[in-house]
Symmetry: C2
Subunit: 226 residues, 2 copies
């Protein structure tokens, strides 16, 4: 979305610096309220929580343009963690200036809220998945979801997307065991619904996968950028 020079300047002033995190690295440590909020510039990351015995649940995936950290704004302890899947470039904002920003530039506050609401919608969808879909439906839904999101930020070329996820990532996102995730993925692959080759994904039957997962992406919305 178009942005005025003045707004841009405010954003610039708010920003406290970029950061790069290696693949597999920690962006925000779990259970510790970070001092910053972030915007993702490049790469894949995810938010997650773990139970005390180590079971992990991925809450949502993050792509360029996504905003992280607002969820914790008033949480003390028991916050989520954020981890990089690929190398990730991000931009950090000091959390304690968030209110200042809302005050000085209501439009930006509104935009941030917008971005936060979008993430919540994704979590809502993921909750439906974990609570009510069976394994096949879960995998179908997640593949389409990730593909469409990558598509929107221009990461698809000739129908192929880079797909840097481990099956463990997918299992943790779906609420399934690693083994069962694998078996389910193989079945869908053998049915010719998608192809996965050397870390690149191609959806062969988008309609079938969407129908299987009962999951249809909404039309693209212009989204603000912070």
């Amino acid at each position: 979305m178009p942005v005025s020079p003045e707004t841009l300047q405010t954003i610039e002033g708010f920003r406290s610096g970029g950061r790069v995190v290696d693949a597999g690295g920690t962006i925000v440590e779990e259970h510790r309220k970070g001092s910053h909020v972030f915007t993702i510039y490049a790469g894949w990351a995810f938010r997650y929580k773990t139970l005390s015995d180590g079971r992990r649940q991925i809450l949502s995936f993050l792509l360029p343009g996504d905003f992280v950290g607002l969820q914790d704004e008033f949480a003390d302890g028991r916050t989520h963690g954020v981890e990089a899947v690929t190398g990730v470039a991000l931009c950090a904002f000091p959390r304690d200036r968030l209110w200042t920003l809302f005050n000085a530039q209501p439009k930006l506050g509104y935009d941030i809220t917008w971005l936060a609401a979008r993430d919540e919608q994704r979590v809502d969808d993921n909750l439906v998945t974990a609570g009510r879909r069976n394994a096949q439906e879960r995998v179908a839904m997640l593949l389409m979801h990730l593909y469409r999101r990558a598509e929107r930020v221009g990461m698809v070329s000739e129908g192929w997307v880079e797909f840097p996820f481990t099956q463990q990532h997918l299992a943790d996102a779906l609420g399934l065991s690693l083994v069962h995730t694998n078996k389910t993925m193989r079945r869908l692959q053998r049915l010719g619904l998608y192809k996965l080759d050397a870390g690149w994904l191609r959806i062969l039957e988008p309609r079938a996968l969407e129908a299987l997962g009962d999951y249809f992406e909404r039309p693209i919305q212009p989204s603000p950028l912070i």
Copy 2:
């Protein structure tokens, strides 16, 4: 939290009127983007989504002080529904004045964002539950969660809370079948962890339930009120 008279006036001006919904009634219809956002004044409600074949997942429960509808702000179609469990009194705000409010009263915008972030945290927790906890843990966690929340808004007296939920509600929230929810609840009851009588709940062993569910509520935070 304390509020200035001026702020109060702005809120009053924003408000477009109260509404009362009967137990079981629809507050927001699913798949239709509502024209209003709401604050709950009294009663229990819940947000939910359903798959096309009718499977339903409850996303979060709502109590007095909770704010609903922001999630849909920019969604078109495929939005959540909101339904009343008990009779519910609420206050409606026209959605299209939301931006005006952010602009005129950044503090209120900030507060709204705060409330939305709190709901997202709850959804995050519920996703962990649906994805990674077994039936016992889920029930234990949900009972404690609902009890604590009721406690915070002063709905507990002498250790008893009114508990208006049907086992179907709980099952839909937990991602379990009705039958299995029932069997699990009976087991925890027989273990003497809680008591349920004529629609009133009493937690007998809070520590045990918290430990079982690996779920410990955060200390109370002062929260804004819209």
